[in-house]
């Protein structure tokens, strides 16, 4: 064994890997090499001292201080707040998805034309009663139909976005919860 190999053996020795064959070779080198023997002796003292003075007792009263602070914190809820809110979001998204899935065909069924006709006749009556004026009727109903049309379009696009969002949130909630369980790190 040369000095380089001896250093490797020394490190294994202080790693507490002390298999007898390596140990024999180590000792026979230490017997014949002063430099390595000095290193071995010094490390034995240094690391031995560190290992002997490792555990320190906390001051008395410190435990009580910690518990006092813990007791002033909100009580933990099973799965933690994070898990709870995820569960809440998950079930909420399932409900919303169902509502949206059911309501979309219904919304499509009530055609924009129906609403326009109903709206026009309503405005016609309203303007007839209030003003009895054709020009105002045309003006107002024109405005109303453009407004209603864009409103319907908006409702449709909002519904589509909402549908995607709730599905996304639902998936995220389920996977997020799995991640909380899997992830042991901080």
């Amino acid at each position: 064994m040369n000095c380089k190999e001896c250093h490797q053996q020394l490190m294994d020795y202080f790693d507490h890997n002390r298999e007898s064959k390596g140990l024999q070779l180590l000792h026979s080198h230490l017997d014949s090499c002063q430099g390595c023997r000095e290193l071995f002796d010094e490390l034995t003292v240094i690391l031995g001292t560190l290992e002997a003075t490792s555990m320190v007792e906390p001051e008395s009263g410190l435990e009580k201080k910690v518990m006092k602070r813990i007791q002033s914190l909100p009580v933990l809820v099973k799965q933690g707040d994070d898990g709870l809110s995820k569960m809440f979001m998950g079930s909420l998204s399932v409900i919303f998805t169902l509502i949206l899935l059911i309501s979309t065909p219904i919304l499509n069924h009530i055609s924009f034309l129906d609403m326009l006709i109903h709206g026009r006749s309503f405005i016609y009556r309203l303007s007839g009663i209030v003003l009895d004026c054709q020009i105002i009727y045309h003006f107002v109903s024109g405005l109303f139909s453009t407004f209603l049309f864009s409103l319907l379009q908006q409702i449709q696009s909002v519904y589509t976005i909402a549908l995607f969002m709730t599905v996304f949130l639902g998936v995220k909630a389920v996977y997020g919860k799995l991640a909380v369980v899997k992830n042991g790190s901080i």
């Binding site: 490190m11 202080f14 790693d15 290193l39 010094e42 490390l43 003292v45 240094i46 690391l47 001292t49 560190l50 290992e51 003075t53 490792s54 555990m55 320190v56 007792e57 906390p58 001051e59 410190l62 435990e63 201080k65 910690v66 518990m67 602070r69 813990i70 007791q71 914190l73 009580v75 933990l76 809820v77 099973k78 799965q79 933690g80 994070d82 898990g83 909380v180 369980v181 899997k182 992830n183 042991g184 790190s185 901080i186």
Partner: protein
């Protein structure tokens, strides 16, 4: 039979704060020692001790029972200490702050020499750069294995092993240089 760690954690997560008192009493020595050995400042050790246990309490829901609780808790303690040290950039240990648990069976002179020796070694450890100091503390003072250190430090075993090897040689060189300085000044 004593309740297991994971049993206690489940109780905590169900809102039972008394179960945390039991966890605290099981791990106070380990955590206090990790902080004490990493920090070397007695006032700060008490503050950090409280902070670490509050952090542990708040992140209980992220604990993964695949790991030992000791490793997980030590990881939190190490992170809190290193964050604090990085904020402070440097730290000092003074003679007065060195509170050692003494064994009064030894005679006073031996005790003094042993104390001085301990103090010198401790100063040498404190003087090491962080990446070398932390493995020394975790392995030689806290008795964590390489596998456990890999979890605590989020680094591969090969790197930690290398650093610990270098750290031991650095400690030896520092202490040898100090001895020479003392010999010259006498």
């Amino acid at each position: 039979m004593e309740p297991s760690d994971s049993g206690l954690i489940q109780k905590c997560l169900a809102g039972n704060q008394d179960a945390f008192a039991e966890i605290l009493s099981r791990y106070k020595r380990l955590i206090y020692s990790v902080i004490y050995n990493l920090m070397g400042d007695s006032q700060e050790v008490n503050d950090l001790f409280q902070e670490v246990f509050i952090r542990i309490y708040k992140s209980l829901h992220t604990y993964n029972s695949e790991y030992s609780f000791a490793t997980w808790a030590a990881k939190i303690a190490t992170n809190v200490c290193l964050d604090r040290q990085r904020q402070k950039k440097f730290h000092q240990v003074s003679m007065e702050e060195m509170v050692e648990i003494s064994d009064n069976r030894e005679n006073p002179e031996d005790l003094y020499l042993a104390k001085e020796q301990k103090h010198k070694i401790r100063m040498a450890v404190d003087g090491l750069p962080e990446k070398y100091r932390v493995p020394v503390v975790l392995f030689h003072q806290q008795g964590f294995s390489y596998g456990e250190m890999a979890i605590i430090l989020n680094q591969p075993v090969s790197i930690i092993k290398n650093r610990l090897y270098r750290a031991r040689l650095m400690l030896r060189d520092t202490l040898a240089a100090n001895r020479e300085k003392e010999a010259v000044s006498r």
